[in-house]
C-alpha cells in the first residue's frame, strides 16, 4: 500500500473539514469541522512517520492528541459562555470581542 493513498484520504477529510468550517454559522459545528481537519492531519502525520520516524512519530502524536483534548476543553467553555451571554452560538452575531452588547 502506497502512502499516497492515505495522503488522498487525509486531503479529502481536510477538505470536508474546511468546507464545514467555512459554511457553518454555529460555533459548535465549526469546532466539529476543525476537529475533522485535526484527524486528517494526525492520520497523515502517522502515515509519514512510518516512513521517516517510526518511534518518535507516535511519541509526538501522544502529545498532540492530549493537547487537542486541552484545546477542546478551552474552546467548549468559551462557546458555553458565548451562549450564556448572547443566547446563541451563531458566530455571525458576534460583532465585537468586548465592550457593548452585540
Amino acid at each position: 500500500m502506497e502512502a499516497v493513498f492515505l495522503l488522498g484520504v487525509s486531503a479529502v477529510l481536510f477538505g470536508i473539514g474546511a468546507l464545514g468550517a467555512i459554511v457553518h454559522k454555529s460555533a459548535t459545528r465549526k469546532l466539529i469541522s476543525l476537529e475533522i481537519m485535526f484527524n486528517a492531519e494526525l492520520l497523515l502525520f502517522l502515515a509519514l512517520s512510518t516512513i521517516y520516524a517510526p518511534l518518535n512519530g507516535p511519541i509526538l502524536a501522544i502529545f498532540i492528541i492530549a493537547l487537542t483534548g486541552s484545546e477542546v476543553g478551552v474552546i467548549v467553555p468559551i462557546i458555553v459562555l458565548l451562549y450564556r451571554k448572547i443566547g446563541t452560538v451563531d458566530v455571525t452575531k458576534l460583532s465585537r470581542l468586548g465592550g457593548d452588547e452585540p
Binding site: 492515505l6 487537542t68 467548549v76
Partner: protein, 163 residues
C-alpha cells in the same frame, strides 16, 4: 511492506468509513448527530492508525480523543441545543475554496508521501520507555496544561467568570 490484499482491503474499508462519517458530520442537520459522527471519524482514524502498526496509539486515540474529547463536545452540544444552520449563499464559494485547499494540501505533501507504508510494530514498553526516559519534561508541561484546563472548566461551570 504490505502487499497482501486483506491489508489493503482493511485500509480501504476504514478509509471509506472515515470519509463517510465526515460527510455525515458535515451535512447532518442536527448538531448532536454531527458530534456523534465526529466520534465515528475518530474511530475510523483510530482503525487506520492501528492498521499502520501503532496499536498502542490507536487505543490511546480511542480512550483520550473519542472517549473524552468527543464525549465532551457531544454533551456540550446537548446542553446548548440546536444549531443555527449554515450560510447557503457561501456554498459555491466555500466548495471551491475547500477543493483548492484539499488539492494544495495533497500536492504540497505529495513529495513526502512517495514511499511505501512500512510495517511498524511498537510495544507498550517501547513507547513508555521512550516517553519516560527522554520526554519527562514534556509530560510535566502536558500535566500542567491539562490541570489548567480542568481549573478553567471548573471556574466557568461555577459561573465565577461572570462576577
Amino acid at each position: 511492506m504490505y502487499p497482501s490484499s486483506p491489508y489493503t482491503l482493511y485500509i480501504v474499508a476504514a478509509a471509506v468509513f472515515t470519509v463517510l462519517a465526515a460527510v455525515v458530520a458535515l451535512v447532518s442537520k442536527e448538531d448532536v448527530y454531527s458530534a456523534l459522527s465526529l466520534g465515528l471519524v475518530g474511530l475510523g482514524v483510530a482503525a487506520l492508525i492501528a492498521l499502520l502498526g501503532y496499536g498502542i496509539l490507536s487505543v490511546f486515540h480511542i480512550l483520550v480523543y473519542v472517549g473524552a474529547t468527543v464525549t465532551f463536545v457531544v454533551f456540550s452540544v446537548l446542553l446548548i441545543g440546536r444549531g443555527v444552520g449554515w450560510e447557503k449563499r457561501l456554498l459555491a464559494t466555500a466548495s471551491a475554496t475547500a477543493v483548492l485547499i484539499a488539492a494544495s494540501y495533497f500536492l504540497s505533501m505529495y513529495a513526502l508521501s512517495s514511499g511505501e507504508l512500512k510495517a511498524v510494530s511498537l510495544s507498550l514498553g517501547d513507547v513508555g520507555g521512550e516517553l519516560f526516559s527522554r520526554h519527562v519534561l514534556s509530560l510535566v508541561f502536558l500535566a500542567f496544561a491539562l490541570a489548567s484546563v480542568m481549573i478553567e472548566g471548573m471556574l466557568i461551570a461555577s459561573r465565577k467568570g461572570e462576577e
